[in-house]
């Protein structure tokens, strides 16, 4: 896909450099990357995510200059950042809200990939690297949420590290090794801080591979057929740099709305209370971006089974390219599966809702007693796994897909793209 290099150095200095280190050539070829001409705004989230990663690293590095990873000082140091550090009142919410925005963007990016079949041959590895990025992001988000050392930080970390204790035979010693002791304490906080600083750079490396892979196989597009001629593609710059830049500006408006006007909307009041190992909060809830997985965990009465299902819910994403047996990529041409996908999307929101509520509260007032969140999350969990393990393989075999356009250009000109 990358094609031949078109860079011609115009000046002697350019030629001198190009012969020794073709960095300008690399940049020009990189930005001129042929992209399908029919990409819509859902394809802007790659650029948006790059921005999110950079923003998190820049704000994070500055915050780390003022933060103190010590159980007696962590909570106060965050307050000091918000009150006394110059522009700390801006950087701290930017970092905290930034994490939520990062996950919002990554979820849209992933659902987009699922809808247009962007994980299919030859993009399986591109998808798997993306899943790895998501997994490391989750770890980073969890570790970061522990650092302010509020009540939810402490108890969320207690619940999540407790998962490892449920692993048979080695669980208990593994948990102690992770925590650096028998329970969460100063050694835990210090290693969590160290890892929270490390993992984003691993994400950077994975993003490098992800971008390399996409430049090698080319971007998928809303109709899911490969570009066949030159007229099917446009150079990334200036066509998609400008489209992405506009999308990024709109995304930043939403980001700014939360940072400046709703900085607490995505957090939890309990995290303004200093961590107290002697007082358990009435409801321990994780950050919103973990809620669907938390609901899956609590859907089963057995702890180990719940943990297996929860990790399975992420693990199943890695094998998605082989579970979806359909030859056609885009759900635009799969009239039945697209409805199953929409239900899948709804079920993910339902799981998120269940994760935020107490399991025994009533979710839907039907029947004599109504349906509790526990049962609702069971239904949604069942659908979540059925979608991957039953619906996608089976629909690939039996569904009659709509006819595909001949080429991207034809589809664009007839208004179908």
């Amino acid at each position: 896909m990358s094609g031949h290099s078109t860079y011609e150095p115009k000046y002697a200095a350019g030629r001198w450099l190009d012969k020794r280190l073709p960095i300008v050539r690399f940049g020009v070829d990189f930005m001129g990357f042929p992209s399908p001409r029919n990409l819509n705004y859902w394809y802007a989230f790659g650029g948006i995510l790059t921005l999110c990663l950079l923003a998190q690293i820049i704000t994070g590095v500055i915050l780390a200059m003022h933060y103190t990873p010590d159980v007696n000082l962590a909570f106060d140091s965050v307050q000091r950042i918000r009150r006394d550090v110059p522009f700390g009142w801006l950087l701290q919410p930017m970092h905290a809200v930034g994490a939520s925005m990062f996950f919002l963007a990554v979820y849209i990016h992933m659902f987009r990939g699922m809808f247009y079949g962007s994980y299919k041959n030859p993009r399986e590895l591109l998808w798997i690297i993306g899943c790895l990025i998501y997994l490391v992001m989750m770890a980073t988000g969890f570790l970061g949420y522990t650092l302010p050392w509020g009540q939810m930080s402490f108890w969320g970390a207690t619940v999540i590290t407790g998962f490892f204790g449920a692993i048979p035979v080695v669980g208990e010693s593994l948990q102690q090794w992770l925590l650096g002791g028998y329970s969460i304490g100063n050694p835990t906080l210090q290693r969590f801080f160290s890892l929270h600083y490390l993992l984003p750079f691993i994400i950077c490396a994975l993003v490098g591979l992800h971008v390399w892979a996409v430049h090698h196989v080319g971007q998928n597009n809303p109709i899911g057929i490969e570009p066949k001629s030159k007229s099917d593609t446009l150079p990334f710059h200036p066509f998609y740099t400008m489209k992405d830049a506009f999308a990024i500006a709109v995304f930043l408006l939403i980001f700014a709305l939360f940072v400046f006007y709703l900085p607490e909307a995505l957090g939890h009041a309990d995290n303004y209370q200093r961590a107290n190992p002697m007082v358990t909060p009435p409801h321990i809830v994780p950050e919103w971006y973990f809620l669907p997985f938390y609901a899956i965990l609590r859907a089963v009465p057995d702890k180990l089974m719940g943990i297996i299902l929860m990790f399975g819910a992420i693990g199943v994403l890695f094998v998605l390219p082989w579970l979806d047996t359909a030859k056609v990529r885009s759900l635009r041409f799969r009239p039945i599966t697209r409805w199953f996908f929409i239900i899948f999307l709804v079920m993910c929101f339902v799981l998120g809702w269940c994760g935020a509520k107490a399991p025994d509260d009533i979710a839907i007032p039907i029947g004599e007693h109504g349906m509790s969140f526990k049962w609702l999350s069971r239904i949604a969990t069942l659908y979540y796994f059925a979608y991957f393990i039953v619906i996608l393989p089976v629909m690939g075999w039996i569904e009659k897909t709509k006819p595909l356009p001949e080429s991207i250009t034809k589809a664009v000109l007839s208004g179908d793209a």
Binding site: R37, N38, D76, Q79, R80, R82, R83, W89, L90, P93, L234, P238, F239, M242, K243, A245, F246, A249, V250, L252, L253, A256, L257, V259, F260, Y261, P263, E264, A269, D270, Y272, Q273, R274, P282, P335, I336, W339, F340, I342, I343, V346, V350, W353, K357, D361, I362, A363, I364, P365, I366, E399, K400, V412, L413, A417
Partner: protein, 273 residues
């Protein structure tokens, strides 16, 4: 056949979504504690600011009533004279020079270490000092207060679900007669807004408990309102500057997005898409 399945699923999806929404409403109606009424605070909204005279009265209530049990963990005296703070004076951009703040700091006793002997001694506060601790540790605080540690008030508003509305309701209207059949434990009071309804803090405010210098009638409700205004600032002292910068950011981003959109259209004008 397949079309029928598709339609059925669409209907199921729509119906179930509306059912969930209905469930949410039913959910909100339950619960043991009364839901605090929404108050019309001046610090709410995109252009909200704190009411300075109310904050100043609120500080007086804190000093004369609350400070016998509750600390302000994250505040120093100088914060009172910061830009946006209750006693900010544009004549003294450095709050350490602000005479009002200096006078307030003097009201407090601070323990210091003598630099020659190393012995502790009591001194009056200066603006750079933090609000002092009341108890030597949490155990002493609990022992003096019937087993419950009085919470730090500097982040009390962000640390409570419902925030300012909740705290105002709890102080101004929460202490009522327990409904029949409710037993109130020893050393606790009934409060209809407190989670579990049994609060270890005895009713803290009574009419005319403090005498306001500006002549405002010190009713329980007025004192509660003023105190919440002060504590709202204490919990989020940079709110005013944040909202101001936020507005400028919005304006910039909006115009920037518009320009980018026009550039995008210009770049693409010869491409069918």
């Amino acid at each position: 056949m397949l079309k029928a399945i598709t339609k059925t699923f669409a209907v199921v999806a729509v119906v179930s979504t509306s059912l969930f929404a209905g469930g949410m409403v039913a959910q909100a109606a339950g619960g043991g504690e009364a839901k605090p009424e929404t108050q019309n605070w001046g610090f709410k909204g995109p252009f909200g600011t704190y009411d300075r005279p109310a904050m100043q009265r609120g500080y007086q209530v804190y000093k004369e009533v609350c400070s016998s049990c509750h600390v302000l963990d994250h505040l120093s005296f100088r914060h009172l004279g910061d830009k946006g703070g209750p006693f900010y004076d544009p004549q003294f951009p450095n709050p350490n020079d602000n005479p009002v703040v200096k006078a307030f700091a003097k009201d407090w006793t601070i323990e210091r270490i003598d630099q020659d002997s190393g012995d502790p001694y009591d001194d009056t506060g200066i603006p750079a000092d933090q609000f002092p601790d009341i108890y030597p540790n949490a155990i002493a605080a609990a022992a003096s207060n019937g087993g419950a540690v009085p919470p730090d008030l500097s982040v009390i508003i962000p640390a409570r679900t419902g925030g300012a509305d909740y705290l105002f309701a709890l102080l101004a209207h929460g202490y009522t007669e327990a409904p029949e059949g409710t037993t109130v434990g020893e050393g606790t009071s009934y409060n209809k807004y407190f989670p579990g309804n049994q609060i270890a803090m005895a009713p803290p405010l009574f009419d005319e408990m403090v005498e306001y210098a500006d002549g405002t009638q010190a009713s329980t409700e007025q004192m509660s309102r003023d105190l919440v205004e002060f504590l709202a600032w204490a919990g989020d002292p940079k709110m005013e500057v944040r909202k101001k910068v936020g507005f400028a950011t919005f304006l910039f981003l909006f115009i920037f997005a518009l320009l980018l959109f026009m550039t995008y259209k210009e770049v693409w004008k010869d491409v069918d898409h």
